[in-house]
Symmetry: C2
Subunit: 384 residues, 2 copies
């Protein structure tokens, strides 16, 4: 008889997403009525009206939808990607909508990876890529932040199966140039690799234009594009994400979706079909406003001597804490406890990021963001 | 250079859920304006009013919720399980709500299974159990329908880690007796096994009372209970499922949820928090009505000589096609094409079910259901 009931070692080894752990510390302080400057959330607080649910077909909304997602929604997404980014797709066979892009990235990875396959991931890397690769029994191969697309050769082995690219990058804001993307695509083609391109922040660009990875791969031989409504539209709570890929991959993801998720909340699909265009009209100007705030904040960082990784997109900065002697976790914890400023320690985005913090500017006023940056600046000096 | 880009063999080997494949055939016939009697859906069409979204906190609804699910919803679920089934749980630590019970079963399996672990599954078995166990790199060990809890000993090996029980069973309608459940629990305790108890049809019982597996395991040492709003409340489209388990398991599932799903649609959580009680008042009488229809249909089957697996719960029957010479897939396909009656072939529920069909009575009138059964009866005779 076994006394203990061991859990999956793989799951036990997963780090709780550090951004979430820090947010829980924030909630605790807030419950104690402390005024916390929150630069840690992965959200932007847009002002979006609430449209009526009354006109929606609620009976349909109460029941399962097609497990590729409702056709009209796939059609809208397909048209959007064509019009906005020049990527054409067949909504019948090459698009699948489900409950968030996180789920769809996981299913795409499960679809392309065999055990022990290696996946190249550029740091700073969104924390779930690494864990999702591990949950697929595959191996993440991290490229440190100071290396780029041109250095990828060093990280490829016989076992490499795919590259994940996050364009624009959360958290650096890096927008990949057309030249870099082409270079990566050519490399992947030469080596027979898939490219999973997470384009969740595709509209959060300003000076440098966004190019979808899929423009290089008209036949969708190796590029899998994932996107969502969470970031570009500021509606993370609706849990709608989607993937554009070739028919064979979509069919495989479809099978996984049928066995793991089924479909997004049908009611929410109906809502998005009806109001997507109206919502986009509201959010696009707010994205522009947020990007102009990003520039202002960048100038402010320059003025107080805060360095950061290069990037012009998204609503994040990856701020250096060098020459502080603290690790990113120690620094962020002290900053939160002493100064009531919440950020995310860089370590969660890769080992090469342990002297950085993620600073998000989507949820606070310019004045409060600057106050938070002052506190970072002071703590760096104090701990150097 | 690799020419081809091989997909995961595991995913390629997954059978598309056969119920879904048949439903697609149904859609095709319906597009051709054929009148199809649909006995294949895994849904009951309840009459549920549509409550107002206007009073909900939509700004909150547009954003992520806690990745355990909103606390008030966990509290409501915890109280419901206590009041309804005598299972107590701490909503802070022992309950997690996410986007459907399918996702939560998958994450629970990933949490408890290591590669090559074996999981005992009773046939007829919901098709996703088998595939989800395989996706966890573990091995499903199927118990044929003519064996029961008392025979489980034959299927246990050194590698057995868990048993999945679906109570009441989809598709037989079998409601496990307290004695059977106790026997299974004692066995699992003696052998150090987890029990995953899928109780999605817990309110769909009539003559035989439903008992939650969790009543035998006050400390939740080994019992993991999963349930949802899809079946009991006829609201599959809302995608809300939940798990009740010990704190350690919930914490592990939480990590998976953070990396795979995040949370259900927040707006839908708010809707359910506000209207759950009102909806239950509407659905409970309709469940009773459907169970009384189930009895009527059972008597009708007796009168035309259609045999079936024993069971009094759910809104399904597992109908025998013996002595037809056709396999269940051949039979169901011919029934659909010739008679325009849609059912689900038994094979999808296990190898021992290849001389059965799943017949669901949640979406058609008594007259049309009987017409469908007549067609089955006739085709059995014709193909014997």
């Amino acid at each position: 008889m076994r006394k203990t009931l061991p859990l999956s070692q793989l799951v036990e080894a997963i780090a709780e997403a550090s951004s979430i752990r820090y947010n829980n510390l924030v909630y605790e302080l807030q419950r104690k009525k402390k005024d916390v400057i929150v630069l840690s959330l992965g959200e932007s607080f847009f002002d979006i009206p609430f449209y009526s649910f009354t006109d929606l077909d609620y009976v349909r909304g109460y029941h399962y939808s097609h497990s590729r997602g409702i056709f009209e929604l796939r059609e809208k997404i397909s048209r959007f990607y064509e019009k906005q980014y020049g990527v054409s797709s067949d909504p019948n066979t090459e698009v699948l909508v489900t409950a968030g892009s996180k789920a769809v990235i996981y299913m795409a990875l499960r679809t392309i990876l065999c055990p022990d396959d290696e996946v190249i991931i550029f740091e700073p890397a969104w924390v779930s890529y690494t864990e999702q690769v591990r949950l697929s029994y595959a191996v993440p191969m991290m490229v440190p932040h100071y290396e780029g697309v041109a250095d990828i050769n060093k990280y490829v082995t016989e076992r490499t199966k795919a590259v994940i690219i996050n364009n624009p990058n959360n958290p650096s804001g890096k927008v990949y140039s057309k030249k870099e993307l082409k270079q990566l695509y050519d490399f992947a083609k030469r080596r027979g690799l898939y490219i999973l391109s997470d384009e969740a922040y595709s509209d959060f660009v300003d000076e440098e234009p966004f190019h979808s990875m899929a423009i290089f791969d008209k036949k969708k031989e190796r590029v899998i594009v994932v996107n969502s409504l969470s970031k570009n539209m500021g509606m993370s709570g609706l849990r709608i994400g989607y993937v554009i890929a070739n028919e064979k991959i979509i069919n495989a993801i479809l099978k996984l979706n049928q066995h793991i998720i089924t479909c997004p909340a049908t009611l929410v699909e109906l809502y998005v079909i009806k109001y997507l265009d109206a919502i986009l009209k509201k959010t696009f100007p707010q994205i522009k406003k947020l990007l102009s705030l990003r520039k202002e904040i960048g100038r402010y960082m320059d003025s107080i001597g805060l360095e950061r990784l290069p990037g012009t997109g998204t609503f994040y900065f990856t701020v250096s804490i060098v020459p502080s002697k603290l690790s990113s976790e120690e620094f962020a914890t002290r900053l939160l406890k002493e100064d009531h400023v919440a950020t995310v320690p860089g370590l969660g985005y890769g080992k090469s990021l342990d002297s950085f913090l993620r600073v998000g500017i989507g949820t606070e006023s310019p004045e409060r963001i600057k106050k938070g940056l002052d506190a970072i600046r002071t703590l760096i000096t104090k701990t150097s």
